[in-house]
């Protein structure tokens, strides 16, 4: 049945194209490379993220752990992907500890969705960020983890190393592995479905803290 349907659809399409339309040359005259300075690009990213109601902090490797501690609060159970550099994290206390996810949902030590629904936060790194649109790309790399860990917890603390910030979408896309499971995040989840009034926080994490690290 399926093969029949395929054959028939392709036959229809070939018939529909009996006039042999010529594909045009795709003009790619849009911008591919930023002309802004590094500072301008990072400023733009911060501006756009704040516009989306994300919290943005500029930290160094010396200050990042304290910042994460502050954002987590004194009492927090939070998830980190296996590949995240633990030197960036605050010291463990009795009330504040990290739970490592093995980045593979099939492993016994992987957190279930129920586990993820109970933790307070998740801390990850990111692949690349686009300043023009205020978009952070996660592509499942070892320090970003599988998709569920940045989705189910209600608070996402995302580290954006400054050398991963670019201005334009084409620049950002070129740094992502096409077949990797990818999530592009531009602020916390939001809806405008009721009278177009924007409400931040629906099903995805309702708090997004972005740490610009460098």
């Amino acid at each position: 049945m399926s093969a029949d349907a395929k054959t028939q659809i392709l036959e229809r399409l070939h018939g529909a194209l009996a006039d042999h339309p010529q594909a045009p040359e795709v003009p790619r005259g849009y911008r591919h490379t930023s002309e802004l300075s590094r500072e301008e690009i990072v400023d733009m990213l911060e501006d756009r993220l704040v516009d989306y109601k994300a919290n943005v902090f500029r930290e160094t490797t010396q200050t990042v752990a304290d910042r994460i501690a502050t954002q987590l609060g004194a009492s927090a159970r939070y998830v980190i992907p296996e590949g995240l550099d633990t030197a960036l994290l605050p010291e463990e206390t009795a009330a504040r500890r990290a739970i490592v996810d093995p980045n593979d949902g099939r492993k016994a030590s992987a957190l279930t969705v129920r586990d993820l629904n109970r933790v307070d936060a998740v801390v990850t790194s990111s692949t690349v960020s686009c300043a023009q649109t205020g978009t952070i790309f996660l592509s499942g790399r070892p320090d970003e983890g599988r998709r569920a860990i940045t989705l189910v917890p209600d608070h996402h603390i995302c580290i954006v190393p400054l050398d991963t910030v670019v201005e334009l979408i084409p620049e950002a896309m070129s740094r992502v592995e096409p077949t990797a499971p990818t999530t592009m995040i531009s602020g916390p989840s939001a809806t405008s479905d009721i009278e177009l009034e924007r409400v931040e926080g629906v099903h995805g994490p309702r708090t997004l803290d972005v740490i610009l690290l460098g």
Binding site: R12, G29, I185, V202, H203
Partner: protein
């Protein structure tokens, strides 16, 4: 479903089925919707808000026109190579552990999805907002098989709980305000208390709690797709709330239904569409969440992935070189938000899953213009061109509307033998149409001359609603049956005969004083007979002038030259001489520049109508608009 294979490339186009057919033709449906004041107020607020947001974020992109050019060319490439790209896409999905299914029509797609759900041994599925599944009526089909599909997008949830129909591509519950939504939630959501207020924040929180458990426990999710990438097998869903991510990530099995036109050739092409879509759609620089996935990623996300490639009439759209660019649509809904007809008539008037200007060209092509109820859709436009101006992939909607009107007339005249398989309930469009439109006429007669008697706002509104109606009706009245000359035909032929000769035109002009007598003291003609009576149904015809311009010109043509001579301007090269030459030429040939169209094509009635309409959206005018927009963008950049 038979295909005659004669070794020729011509396969009969097969039209789509499902929620593409209007139950009621646009003119009648619009009349009803126009009376819903609340809905109109909601839609006005929403479309104006999004329209302004869009203009703002588009204005800040300096290379917007280059992006549109690229987007348009990429989509044209997709259409030219669709069969090859689909096969490439299939290969890549399969290589990454996915399963590809092909569905010729809505029934086949529904059957495939139902079987896949049943194989997972569940009766509950969660869904991401998807136009394709709505087009094929998947939720209803699943319900018939004992499967409950829960819509997880907030607006779709509101529509589903309210047993309503979506009215806008992007914000399906645009026609409901917060009070109405609160009422639906407190009635339909288990566990909701009286404390539920109509604050959007509170309502969104109620939806979060209502759906949370479903996200965490559902085994199967169903989605649509915004883009499918041929060279990688990647799929993408663009969303805001995170319900998409939930559905695409947490269940064991993911089933994606994608129209075959949603392909892009390369992953690189996404860099264009991720810029065009959000700004055109929600008026945001970027939507909060975009997901990309390729087949199955072991240890991350669903274990089973199926994609159903849906034709359902798309191949029929592709078969018309003049109309196929309707398939370029990326469902941004920018054209809805700028359309004066949509703003007043609302999404429900269009009947189909696809409302607004894009719906007016897509639905009748998917079902075939012989589908009587949809045949009125191409008239649901004032041809103002705003839709084309905002379209991120530059679909020339006005041109296609005019083309489809022409197709409709030809079909009605029996001049065009429809090559396609007949759509349901449209075996004899001419006959079916008559009843329908006669009924419509009685409705409009009730209305009397309301267009003039009401307030200015109401007046313009009435005109909008009725202009499309009347245009369609008049055309239809003019073609009661196939092939026979009609009132309209006779009129057009007559006009052609008179206007193609200066002498005949001059004779006709002698009748002008008669019109002045008819107009009487109020200097207006309020009633005209027959098919032209449609005009006077809603407005008066001003009394004709005392004499024709040609007669006036004959008496006065010397005066300009005399005046210039007085002013001391002369010489063979000046414009006056050129004018004189033109006038002399006209006099010699019996025509004059003021004679109106010298259409010498006999029997060109409907064509002439279409042609005239086409001129009103001519390219120079649109180019001006586009240049205007370009200036605005440059200004916005600073």
């Amino acid at each position: 479903m038979s295909v005659t294979s004669l070794g020729m490339p011509a396969v009969r186009p097969v039209h789509g089925q499902g929620n593409l057919h209007a139950q009621v033709a646009f003119p009648k449906a619009a009349k009803k919707e126009l009376q819903n004041e609340q809905m109109r107020a909601n839609i006005r607020h929403a479309t104006h808000t999004i329209r302004h947001k869009r203009a703002g974020v588009v204005g800040e992109v300096p290379d917007w026109s280059e992006l549109r050019d690229a987007g348009s060319a990429i989509k044209e490439t997709v259409m030219a190579h669709l069969p090859e790209l689909l096969e490439q896409f299939e290969q890549n999905v399969v290589a990454q552990g996915g399963v590809v299914h092909w569905a010729r029509d809505a029934d086949e797609a529904n059957a495939i999805v139902t079987r896949l759900v049943q194989e997972q041994d569940t009766t509950d599925v969660i869904k991401v907002k998807s136009m394709a599944t709505q087009e094929i009526g998947l939720d209803e089909h699943l319900a018939e098989h004992g499967i409950t599909a829960t819509e997880t997008d907030l607006a779709e949830l509101i529509v589903q709980l309210g047993r309503d129909k979506p009215s806008h591509i992007l914000v399906p519950a645009i026609h409901k305000n917060r009070e109405e939504i609160r009422e639906i939630f407190s009635r339909e959501m288990p566990g909701v208390t009286d404390e539920l207020t109509s604050e959007p924040r509170v309502l969104a929180e109620a939806a979060r709690q209502h759906l949370r458990e479903k996200f965490l426990t559902s085994k199967v999710a169903i989605s649509g797709a915004n883009f499918g990438i041929a060279d990688t097998g990647t799929l993408s869903v663009v969303e805001s709330e995170g319900n998409g991510r939930m559905c695409l990530t947490l269940p064991e099995t993911l089933i994606t239904v994608m129209g075959i036109e949603k392909l892009l050739p390369t992953y690189q092409d996404l860099e264009v569409f991720f810029q065009l879509l959000p700004r055109s759609s929600t008026g945001e620089r970027m939507n909060p969440y975009t997901s990309l996935w390729t087949g199955v990623t072991p240890g991350d996300g669903p274990k089973n992935f199926h994609v159903v490639l849906l034709d359902n009439g798309r191949s029929a759209v592709l078969s018309d070189p003049k109309g196929r660019s309707a398939l370029h649509c990326i469902r941004c809904s920018a054209c809805l938000n700028v359309c004066p007809v949509y703003e007043h008539a609302g999404g429900h008037s269009y009947g189909s899953t696809y409302p607004g200007p894009i719906g007016a060209i897509l639905s009748p092509q998917l079902t075939g213009i012989t589908s009587e109820k949809n045949a009125s859709l191409p008239y649901a436009s004032s041809l103002c061109g705003a839709c084309y101006q905002v379209c991120p992939v530059k679909i020339n909607i006005p041109d296609i509307l005019v083309h489809l009107r022409d197709e409709d007339i030809r079909t009605q005249h029996g001049q065009r033998v429809d090559q396609s398989a007949p759509a349901p309930a449209s075996q004899d469009p001419a006959v079916g149409g008559q009843d329908d439109w006669r009924e419509e006429k009685s409705l409009t007669q009730d209305e009397g001359r309301g267009g003039q008697d009401t307030s200015p706002r109401e007046g313009s509104l009435q005109q909008l609603g009725s202009r499309a109606r009347r245009a369609g009706r008049r055309v239809r009245e003019a073609v009661p049956s196939r092939g026979l000359p009609t009132q309209m035909d006779a009129m057009m032929k007559g006009a052609s005969f008179v206007m193609s000769s200066g002498q005949r035109m001059a004779m006709a002009e002698r009748g002008l004083p008669l019109g002045r007598v008819v107009a009487g003291r109020d200097h207006a003609i309020g009633w005209l007979p027959g098919v032209v009576g449609g005009w006077t149904d809603e407005r008066n015809v001003p009394e004709p002038p005392r004499e024709s311009f040609r007669n006036w010109w004959k008496k006065h043509e010397g005066e300009t030259a005399e005046r210039l001579e007085r002013d001391g301007v002369s010489g063979a090269e000046d414009p006056v001489s050129a004018d004189d030459a033109a006038a002399r030429h006209s006099a010699a040939t019996g025509g004059s520049p003021a004679d109106g169209p010298g259409d010498d094509e006999p029997g060109a009635g409907p064509d002439a109508v279409a042609g005239a309409a086409s001129e009103s959206t001519g390219d120079p005018e649109r180019d001006n608009i586009e240049r205007g927009e370009g200036r605005q963008q440059n200004g916005g950049r600073a």
